[in-house]
Amino acid sequence: MKLLVNGSVREVNAPADMPLLWVLRDLLNVTGVKYGCGMAQCGACTVHLDGQAVRSCVLPVSAVAGRKVTTIEGLSPDGTHPVQQAWAEIDVVQCGYCQSGQIMSAAALLAENPAPTDGDIDVALSGNICRCGTYQRIREAVHRAAALNKRVQR
């Protein structure tokens, strides 16, 4: 099976029902995407599928053939996506384990909605659990990323 991951074509030999998460992590060694619950409850496994945020832990690999998969590793070549910049500036991370998923959810939100309200952020990011409790800074950083985005676009 051929997969398009972070801009490269990757050949994998996986059963059709194997979740994308484990294909990425265990077969392709793309480990920025994390396992947290295995049932789309925590968002740690969030990746982009054709630009949309999806939970890779419940997505059979057969469903993504020929579609564009982007993980945290492919979000920007050098960690300078506006969301990553805002995350660094606001000093969001603690343990860091959930942050790949948080950032992917935030980036997908901003791609659709360049100026999200607190309510929009609630809807887009409440599927991403952070046990360190970085939520307040996540919210702040999403707003900050929106502002950085605006500046880039002008």
Binding site: D26, Y35, M39, T71, G96, C130, Y135
Partner: protein
């Protein structure tokens, strides 16, 4: 790399001129509170900081970074004394070795909110030692008196010329380390005390940070273990035929904790485990029922007996004589830590060596335990501490549960394995915050002040049955069961008091959970104090202030939180405020929570105003993060989380039924750090403790319903 070989590398780096490293002796000075800790092993010089010819300064972290920010905080200590530029700083987890033993506990570990204060002297000292050697190297080069030289931004200068630390590293390594160094006065600090961003951010926002679960190497297999459905159960027999038929499954092996399926990857191991058929010998664990336990605890608390944890006067007589009596029971359920990264551990056994990769808080214990299982000397057990995807106490088990199990699996399978727990394994696998019940009876005088206090505490001991029992359980009292009650400043002024403790045993494994005993003692104490205030018709802040006259730090934090929260003003319509103040881990935290209740009776926490006195503040930005995070962690337990057991089985399994706080539940938390010269305390845990009572007290103010069970549920 083993500790030994790392030392060899360091030694060879001396010879090859790779830079300067500082040998350091553990300071004998430890906090008074840790006087009971075992005698320190004789100092074994080792590396804590390396200055390389490229100018980078690498700090070796004796503790584990699990989100709490010591990766940054300890580097700040070195950078301050070394006078180097912040951009030069690098950090690595140290290997497991005696030289990295916790300065207060005598064993390598991270916990108890102790890293910053316990390493304050050691890490500043190594920074100062390195600086001294670099200065002397420059003085030799310029044939001048070291006293005439200054340092700043990673350079030594005589005012005219300057040399970078990188240029001096090689020459400095030939010098003998200073016998003593003077540390900077607080007034001279340029880095310490200043809000400083984390050093581990870049790798944690680009997916490159390596957690235990990310370990990969050629030949590594993934294993999942089927464990008993009830605590303490053992395998009677099993049928692995179907499991072995799953593509990718290579071996099925029995280990003490259950049956391990060893496969090419997680998914195959999981499908294989699902296909296993196991007949369990369940034993007494099968009868554990959490609601029956709670009933039993209530009866125990009401009856006489129990170990006396603290006593003054005759509480029974004083209660009878008191004008009025207020009594209440408070209870809290079992809780899983639910770290985002489920437990996992990678083990490779080769010859007489054991190599371990894990996110652990307890390298010292893990090394000894793994050595016994692998049958090798402890110094042949190498531990690579990976970033921890959350710890909260779960990764510091006195039994080294998830590490020792992985060593057993690797040994039985004969191949390197990464044992990974599923979320369900993690939720149902024990090492919980124990279920606890408090029964408090208070006699008050005409002004409503407590004059008699009878307090029964019932719950499993965390330390019973562990290697720490001897040291930390005295006369039947596990200090972690009563902390926050026996040392409560409120009780100081109560003439007659008696605190008793029952520590019933059952097969459910229990452990420290962020803020440990304070998770329940702060809830009970601060709820009861609030009940007393309302019963006396007094304002809850003013009432507390009256009782805390002899505790200036509590009083200052309380007043600051109240002031910043606008305690005297009326809250927005439909909202009410509650307050709590609690000391734990040497720090005082006061919180005012502002809540409302939704039409479906769910409780919404809008704002938490928090004042903290943790003594000298090392990194205010980190303190703010820890306080916000600790409150969020506590709020999960206040609003949602609860584990129940029926027929010995845990009824919850994953985040859908073991609910935790999500972003849309997060209140706005404002953190106010009290300017304080008090002895430094901890900051990772203390803000978790009071949030339960602050919210419950606010709910009472709003609804006049006094909720005495966690999680809080309105009738």
């Amino acid at each position: 790399m083993s500790p030994l070989s790392r030392r060899e590398v360091l030694r060879s780096s001396l010879v090859s001129g790779a830079g300067l490293f500082i040998a350091f002796h553990i300071p004998s000075k430890a906090r008074a509170a840790e006087a009971a800790a075992p005698k320190k092993p004789p100092p074994d010089p080792n590396a804590f900081v390396r200055v390389a010819p490229d100018g980078s300064v690498t700090v070796l972290l004796a503790h584990s970074e699990m989100g709490q920010g010591i990766w940054t905080g300890l580097a700040m200590m070195v950078a301050e004394e070394l006078d180097c530029d912040w951009s030069q700083m690098r950090v690595e987890h140290a290997p497991a070795a005696p030289v990295y033993a916790h300065p207060a506990f005598g064993i390598q570990m991270t916990g108890g909110s102790t890293t910053t204060w316990s390493e304050f002297e050691r890490y500043r000292t190594v920074g100062a030692m390195a600086r001294d050697m670099l200065v002397r190297a420059a003085a030799a080069r310029w044939r001048t008196d070291p006293k005439k030289l200054q340092t700043a931004g990673g350079f030594v200068t005589d005012g005219r010329r300057k040399l970078s630390y990188g240029q001096l590293a090689q020459a400095a390594q030939a010098l003998s380390p200073p016998r003593s160094v003077a540390l900077k006065d607080k007034s001279e600090w340029k880095i310490l005390g200043k809000p400083t961003r984390r050093l581990d951010t870049p790798e944690k926002i680009n997916g490159k940070a390596q957690f235990g679960i990310d370990v990969q190497f050629d030949g590594l297999r993934t294993a999942l273990v089927a464990r008993s459905p009830v605590f303490g159960g053992t395998v009677k027999s099993f049928d692995a035929a179907k499991a072995k038929a799953v593509p990718g499954v290579e071996q099925v092996v029995q280990v003490p904790s259950g049956v391990a399926v060893v496969a090419a990857n997680f998914w195959s191991a999981k499908l294989g485990r699902d296909a296993l058929r196991i007949d369990w010998s369940e034993g007494p664990g099968a009868s554990v029922d959490s609601s029956a336990l709670l009933q039993g605890y209530r009866a125990m608390a009401k009856g006489s007996g129990g170990a006396v944890a603290a006593k003054k006067g005759d509480a029974d007589v004083a209660l009878l004589a008191a004008k009025k009596r207020v009594e209440a029971e408070y209870d809290v359920p079992y809780l899983a830590h639910a770290t985002m990264e489920p437990m996992n551990c990678t083990v490779k056994l080769e010859g007489n060596r054991c190599e371990i990769w894990a996110g652990t808080q307890f390298q010292g214990m893990d090394q000894m335990t793994a050595a016994k299982i692998a049958g090798v000397p402890p110094e042949h057990v190498t531990i690579h501490t990976m970033f921890l995807g959350g710890g909260f106490g779960r990764r510091a088990t006195p039994t080294s549960d998830f590490v020792s199990e992985a060593v057993h699996v690797a040994k039985a399978a004969g191949v390197p394995v990464k044992v990974v727990w599923t979320r369900e394994d993690d939720t149902q696998g024990g090492y919980y915050r124990p279920l606890f019940l408090h029964r408090i009876e208070v006699g008050v005088d005409g002004d409503g002040a407590p004059v008699a206090w009878r307090h029964g505490i019932v719950g499993q001991s965390i330390l019973a049955g562990t290697p720490f029992e001897k040291m930390m359980v005295k006369d039947g009292i596990d200090a972690t069961s009563v902390e926050g009650v026996t040392d409560s400043p409120y009780l100081e002024s109560v003439g007659s008091r008696r605190i008793t403790l029952h520590s019933p045993r059952n097969p459910v494994t229990v452990l420290w959970w962020r803020s440990v005993g304070n998770t329940h003692t702060a809830f009970a104490m601060e709820s009861m104090i609030d009940e007393l205030a309302w019963s006396a018709g007094r304002d809850p802040v003013e009432y507390r202030a009256g009782l805390l006259k002899a505790s200036p730090r509590h009083l200052r934090a309380l007043k600051l939180a109240a002031e910043k929260a606008g305690w005297g003003d009326s809250p927005p319509k439909g909202r009410a405020r509650g307050v709590a103040v609690h000391e734990s881990f040497g720090s005082i935290v006061a919180q005012v929570a502002e809540v409302s209740v939704d039409p479906d009776k769910s409780i919404r926490v809008h704002k938490v105003t928090c004042a903290v006195d943790c003594g000298t503040a090392i990194n205010p930005l980190g303190i703010e993060a820890q306080v916000q995070g600790a409150i969020a962690y506590g709020l999960s337990a206040v609003l949602y989380s609860e584990l129940t057991l029926k027929n010995g089985r845990v009824e919850q399994s994953n985040f859908h039924d073991y609910r935790v706080l999500r972003l849309d539940d997060m209140p706005t938390v404002s953190v106010h750090i009290v300017e304080s010269d008090a002895k430094m305390g901890g900051i990772g845990e203390p803000a978790t403790a009071p949030i339960s009572a602050a919210v419950a007290n606010a709910v009472y103010a709003l609804t006049r319903q006094r909720l005495r069970s966690l999680p809080l549920r309105l009738a």
